[in-house]
């Protein structure tokens, strides 16, 4: 699975380059995010602008990534398409994450 990462001060932006986070790649997604995040940074912005589709396995993998970061670090989401955001809304997971309209907005916002 391909990702692009940009480090800016204590924020790590991870852009998911895959078009789908689904049952076929959810485990791989979780493993990759753990590896990319390691023990730092404080804030991780997951840019989903290129992601066209996310199923419940993909949603579970994003939740797992947030749990991996723990209470002292933050996973924020950005760039959700209408389709992806609908899955977050229906499951009410939109209430659990800080969601920014774009990754740029997330990078310029102060820590939530």
């Amino acid at each position: 699975m391909d990702f692009e990462t940009v480090r800016q001060d204590d924020i790590l932006k991870i852009t998911v380059l895959a078009e789908r986070i689904d049952a076929a790649c959810a485990v791989q997604f979780k493993d990759c995010i753990r590896e990319i995040c390691g023990n730092e940074p404080k804030r991780v912005v997951l840019d989903l602008q290129k992601v066209d589709f996310l199923d419940s396995s993909g949603l579970g993998a994003v939740v797992a990534a947030m749990k991996f970061l723990g209470k002292d670090r933050q996973l924020e989401l950005a760039g959700l398409s209408d389709k992806v955001s609908r899955v977050f809304r229906l499951t009410r997971m939109d209430s659990v994450f800080t969601i920014h309209p774009t990754a740029d907005a997330a990078m310029s916002a102060s820590a939530a």
Partner: protein, 158 residues
């Protein structure tokens, strides 16, 4: 008038039939979803309806692969879709294990007011299916699972 398109699509009047035979792998489910979405787009189904259909079909087919076939490749299952003006009628048939208790899971929504470490990482599938479908039915007939439901079409371009 009858017309044929790729992957077993048949047109009759304003209604369209689509059928797919899918291998019991997450990769083949993904490929089937992409083919169906392309076909529904070609047939002029609105984006918001296609989004709902893709979510529901993904959850149903992933359930078949994960639970009925226990993630073992080498089996196949059938998906039959009947598109009418205001509804998509769907039927998923597999030869895998029956639903526990021969009944559909309830698909309740989760309590999300919990500690970070207790947040659910699964169990969203049936909830999404129940939210986006109506007339959801399950039957076990001749050692086959039959899941049937309708997805009402909103024709919303958004």
């Amino acid at each position: 008038m009858l017309g044929h398109a790729a992957n077993g699509a048949v047109t009759s009047g304003t209604d369209h039939m689509l059928s797919e035979t899918v291998d019991s792998t997450a990769e083949d489910v993904r490929n089937a979803l992409i083919r169906i979405n392309d076909e529904l787009k070609r047939l002029g189904v609105a984006p918001s309806d296609r989004d709902a259909i893709e979510v529901v079909l993904a959850e149903c087919m992933n359930n078949v692969v994960e639970h009925a076939y226990c993630e073992r490749p080498g089996s196949r299952f059938d998906l039959k879709l009947h598109l009418s003006a205001d509804n998509l009628f769907c039927r998923v048939e597999d030869d895998g294990k029956p639903m526990p208790g021969l009944a559909l899971p309830s698909g309740k929504s989760h309590n999300l007011s919990v500690d970070l470490s207790d947040l659910p990482e699964g169990g969203f599938g049936w909830f999404l299916i129940r939210e986006l479908t109506c007339d959801l039915r399950y039957a076990r007939e001749r050692d086959r699972n039959n899941l049937m439901f309708q997805i009402p079409l909103s024709h919303d371009e958004g």
